[in-house]
């Protein structure tokens, strides 16, 4: 499914003392399936891009094309079809929960979009198993979960109605190291086997450097540059925006600065083998 932004700008509370510009003539185009990530500091307008694709807000200028739908401020006919094909996971998972148990919360999406299936029961367990939780969570209250489990339940709520586009807003806050590798494996499975388009809005460059194929760097309401993984190997751009340089890139740049040869690596085990080959 194609996504296209055509000179989109967004201003909230216009002609009042609270006026604030959030996006300023942003345009980009996503055609193929894959994992795309938008990196930037807070207040750079990442969350607004996710909300515009899901049509929760409408732009003040410009047009957003999502497949055959157009979001440009006028009324969208059959808006539920749009939301069925684009799932959006909130940054704060407690904003998302409305029901009293996890089972009702997960099945809520299927009920809202009028999915007709006999084995609903089977399906809720499957969605929980994908994100790494077991059946004992089905009868708990979602608002009393801790942050680590609530983040996983929020992703399961989206996976159950099988959308074509998945948007994740800051997915790594509150997760530990093992959960991050599990999430990485899940995203690659969704991309390779089921052909989904995944959009990550984050400031965690270490996680995005491992998973994503294509990067957009944002600063103060606009997109500055875009490119593939060689973009994150440039330390000067990242420092100018105010982002952290990934640990592996920092180490291998230090090696090259002192005059030794080293290839580019993503995984730490491959890096050690490369260092050993050159040093001995």
């Amino acid at each position: 499914m194609e996504i296209k932004f055509d000179r989109v700008s967004l201003v909230i509370n216009p002609y009042t003392p609270l006026e604030k510009t959030i996006l300023n003539s942003v345009s980009f185009e996503i055609k193929e399936t894959g994992i795309y990530s938008f990196l930037g500091k807070s207040n750079s307008g990442k969350t607004a891009i996710g909300e515009l694709i899901n049509a929760l807000i409408s732009p003040t200028n410009g047009k957003v094309y999502i497949g055959k739908f157009i979001n440009d401020g006028r009324k969208i006919r059959k808006i539920n079809r749009l939301r069925l094909s684009a799932g959006y996971v909130f940054k704060n998972p407690y904003d998302m929960f409305i029901e009293s148990t996890v089972r009702k919360e997960i099945e809520c999406g299927m009920k809202y979009f009028k999915y007709k299936l006999k084995d609903k029961n089977f399906r809720a367990k499957d969605a929980l198993k994908l994100v790494g939780l077991d059946e004992t969570f089905l009868n708990m209250n979602p608002r009393k979960l801790n942050l680590r489990d609530a983040k996983k339940v929020a992703i399961a709520c989206i996976l159950i109605f099988n959308p074509e586009i998945i948007i994740l807003d800051e997915p790594t806050i509150g997760l530990n190291n093992k959960d991050k590798t599990d999430l990485e494996r899940l995203l690659k499975l969704l991309k390779n086997r089921y052909g989904k388009t995944i959009i990550i809005l984050s400031k965690d460059t270490n996680f995005c450097f491992k998973t994503s194929d294509y990067f957009y760097l944002m600063e103060k309401t606009r997109i500055i540059t875009h490119g593939d993984k060689t973009l994150l190997k440039d330390e000067e751009i990242l420092k100018a925006i105010g982002l952290e340089v990934p640990h592996i890139v920092k180490f291998s740049n230090e090696v090259r600065r002192q005059g030794h040869k080293l290839h580019d690596y993503i995984n730490i085990l491959d890096l050690i083998k490369g260092v050993y080959r050159d040093a001995k």
């Binding site: 801790n146 640990h247 180490f251």
Partner: protein, 255 residues
């Protein structure tokens, strides 16, 4: 004999004692229950502040000494502007209006919030919301601060700045307890406690806890990147001790 600042006990298995001001990191899978017991003083647990037990009579005094910053309350604000929000703690202590204005302008310069003092707190970004929460907790000079997952909201530049502010606060005699899941934050503090199913597994200095590699990987916590890199290099016999700086490490490998 040294006087203890904070002593916490729950059901004979979970117990820790703080004797000198420092940053303590708590890692593990029962973070939520430890936090709730510290907030509301459970019947099974005992809390001692300055060797006086906390009960119903001195519960309000306990919340003056200890201030909490939680992830769930990140979007809840009392005041209409940011300066009202920060002044709330000082007003309830009965400090005069001129002094409050002086203190806020001095502290806001350290946190880089000077041009945001007259704005509505709900219109700020998530990085500035976390900074306002930390400032409004630190401004009344409490003995102990408890943080829960709040440092992961900060940008990289502000994260480096907050480290320096915490180190100055400890020199004045404060204590910080950081309850988190991210193992990279353990490198800020000098002491680390690992808790599994409400039992203390490991309680020592951070450098000693990081040597227990098998235990940390089985619990799913993992290791920080620079420690993991050092471990692999020692296994391959390229270096013979730990280096916390990349420049010195590279010089040692290609001797």
């Amino acid at each position: 004999m040294k006087k203890s600042i904070l002593k916490y006990r729950y059901n004979e298995d979970l117990e820790f004692n703080v004797e000198k001001p420092q940053i303590i990191t708590i890692l593990g899978n029962s973070n939520n229950r430890i936090l709730n017991n510290l907030l509301w003083n459970n019947k099974k647990g005992n809390i001692f502040v300055d060797e006086i037990e906390v009960n119903d009579a001195n519960f309000y005094k306990y919340h003056q000494d200890v201030s909490f910053i939680l992830y769930k309350q990140l979007n809840i604000f009392i005041g209409e502007t940011v300066s009202d929000e920060i002044a709330f703690g000082l007003e309830s202590l009965g400090i005069s209006r001129n002094d409050i204005h002086e203190i806020i302008t001095r502290e806001a310069r350290i946190f880089n919030l000077t041009d945001k003092l007259e704005k509505d707190p709900n219109s700020l970004g998530s990085n500035d919301k976390a900074l306002v929460k930390i400032l409004s907790a630190m401004i009344i000079n409490p003995k102990i601060i408890v943080l829960e997952n709040i440092l992961s909201e900060l940008d990289y530049e502000d994260y480096e700045k907050i480290k320096k502010i915490f180190n100055e606060y400890i020199k004045k005699g404060g204590t910080i307890i950081n309850i988190t899941n991210n193992v990279e934050e353990a490198l800020i503090g000098s002491r680390t406690i690992v808790v599994c199913d409400m039992k203390v597994v490991c309680d020592d200095k951070t450098a000693k806890v990081m040597t227990e590699e098998k235990l940390l990987k089985r619990l799913g916590i993992g290791l920080p990147f620079i420690i993991e890199l050092n471990k692999y290099l020692i296994d391959y016999a390229l270096i013979d001790k730990y280096y916390m700086d990349y420049g010195k490490m590279v010089k040692e490998i290609w001797k």
